[in-house]
Symmetry: C2
DNA sequence: ATCACTTGTGGGAGCGCTCCCACAGTACCT
DNA sequence: AGGTACTGTGGGAGCGCTCCCACAAGTGAT
């Protein structure tokens, strides 16, 4: 286990060649062992592994990247300013999910913010230099040029939250439609009838799908949606407050609010409380994301849980496949892959 | 400006050699231009730059890393679980500061969490592979083995928040002692006399220094500190609550609280409010960090501002120096560098 | 005119790997 | 006996740079 600390006589790090000499084999064989090729006899493998341990050999990443034309690194690109990244639990949850999935890999994860023009400039340079094997995109707006840049540079990419039903990149999504439906059906089941919806940014496809789910749930239950009860938000707490104020002003009789995110629900809650409405007695409240905010809200917030961990896992899986597929200049099929993961309603005291 | 998109005929990315051929010069000359060497005539430089633009040349990072034995990347290592990273504004502030300073550099910043044993394992591998030129360490506890590992591997490192007065690594710090003094002097100036202190984790050197500043400010003003008014916290909100409860129970006559962080001040505020104490009328409250929390608290919190941006700048500066110094196997002097930056008291309604 | 230096330039060597071809050895058919 | 196939192995070539030596050309002192 313990490396004897015995480095090559030159004081530098040991190389493949030195390991090979020590193990009494050729350079190619050591390379095969290091890379887990099956075409090595057990005895040879053992000898090489012993030499590796004795010398404390660690492969030189740069040499490997140069020779193999891959970097073993992928980037998580957040096209938002850092402030939003830290403010929104969604991002850190995704990061955690991806990180967990990557933990047993050799892959290195890079976190790159591309909120400002300057940062985007840097990112473009970075991608042009092919410093990563693939890219994970989160929270991309409909008009963002990034996906085009990526396909132009032929860099494998997976997007979380497709930009539209016709998303051209491989994508991972949660079932926004189904999640919204289950939230509204839950409220209907609790006897609520005047159910408002504070939407997310409508240039985000997932937010649209939640509106669709909200509408369809009401319609299918025989209570077609009152379009006026749909108030656009923007995923921020302040947006939630603003929307809630408008809703209260125009529809004082509402008895439930389905917010497109927990953060907006938090804003809504504040306004409701200031208006003297009790939760859930007067107005039931349901959020989306099931973030830490939901658990710590007073009262605890019913919310739609997205399987973030699984989404991270799925993103990595798909990206690895893309990377592997692209290695030979394959027939880049039009079979864009797409994963949609189920959501789960977590019922708490707010509804 | 616009790259014509004309890649080498082979469809791959253009190489130095191709740029050289196009510009009618040798490979070495192109390399000199790319790396900004002054030993190139203006005419040649212009020709090379034109060729670079026409071909859309971007240097191959792996080849450069292999040949030059450097990676142009540094890591920001956070020896904490990700959750704490996202919960504490201090980290994101530091990240922002470092990121801003790095924006005009070619340097790439990597964010690495080393909270769990598994993550530390990975980090050790990572460092052993020398995948970064240097390391920025934040929030390291006194008994952490990481600094030793770094000096063993001879990886340049700068630590933010030295572990002790005898810190062996190059360090950047804010003037915790002076900051605490100014907070206490401010409270004294407002006529407060029973000033309590909720400390940070005392295995963090900066937290100790704040206690020292608190003590000395009181002593120098002729009101030696009542040691019982010093209550240990742990930088968390819950810790702030706990400490505040104890303080109120044992010292109901206190008229001011100096908390070692804004987060703890938020916890303290909650307990004070629940106990019916008005802020600042009954009890004045001062925090530390001047984070977003301080601005958004009700009432807004007086807090000691650390020049995070400047600290980030200083860390990068010092690290770059370390990296440059180490390039030739220099006489590793014992002249450990250390920067201490001044703090500023931001007075708001809470005091 | 000679020498000594400086400036700008070209290109060889080499960084530490991966990829792949060559080949020895063994096994199992014809 | 020859063919065919597969397994395990060694080592050459080459990835795209940087470093550095060599050297031509110019400059100025002797």
């Amino acid at each position: 286990m313990a490396s004897h600390g015995g480095r090559g006589r030159s004081g530098g790090r040991p190389t493949l060649e030195e390991v090979a000499a020590r193990a009494g084999v050729g350079r190619g064989t050591v390379s095969r062992v290091i890379n887990g090729s099956p075409r090595v006899s057990d005895a040879t493998r053992a000898a090489v592994e012993a030499a590796v341990a004795e010398l404390g050999y660690v492969p030189n990443t740069a040499a490997r990247a140069l020779a193999a034309n891959r970097t073993d690194a992928i980037a998580l690109v957040v096209p938002e300013p850092e402030t939003r990244f830290f403010a929104e639990p969604y991002f850190s949850d995704i990061l955690r999910g991806v990180g967990a999935e990557l933990a047993d890999t050799e892959m290195q994860l890079l976190l790159i913010f591309a909120g400002s023009d300057r940062e985007r400039q840097r990112l473009a340079q970075y991608l042009a230099a092919h410093r990563v094997d693939g890219v994970l995109l989160v929270s991309v707006h409909a008009d963002d040029p990034l996906p085009d840049l990526l396909s132009q540079l032929e860099i494998p990419a997976v997007i979380s939250g497709p930009r539209s039903a016709a998303e051209s990149l491989t994508s991972v999504d949660s079932d926004n439609y189904g999640g919204a439906r289950s939230a509204v059906e839950h409220l209907l089941g609790r006897g609520r009838r005047r159910i408002a919806h504070i939407t997310g940014r409508l240039d985000v496809y997932g937010a649209q799908r939640r509106v669709d789910g909200y509408r369809d749930a009401l319609r299918d239950a025989g209570h077609p949606a009152d379009e006026l009860l749909i108030e656009p938000g923007d995923f921020t707490e302040e947006g939630g407050r603003r929307a809630m104020r408008l809703l209260l002003a125009h529809h004082p009789d509402l008895d439930a609010v389905f917010a497109g995110s927990d953060v907006m629900a938090a804003g809504a809650r504040q306004v409701l409380r200031e208006a003297g409405r009790r939760i859930p007695d007067d107005v039931a409240l349901v959020g989306y994301d099931d973030s830490a905010i939901a658990r710590h809200m007073d009262p605890p917030l019913t919310s739609v849980r997205q399987p973030i961990q699984e989404m991270g896992r799925a993103m990595i899986d798909l990206l690895q496949t893309e990377i592997a597929d692209r290695r030979p200049p394959a027939s880049r099929g039009l079979d864009r892959r797409r994963a949609v993961l189920p959501t789960e309603l977590v019922v708490r005291a707010s509804s």
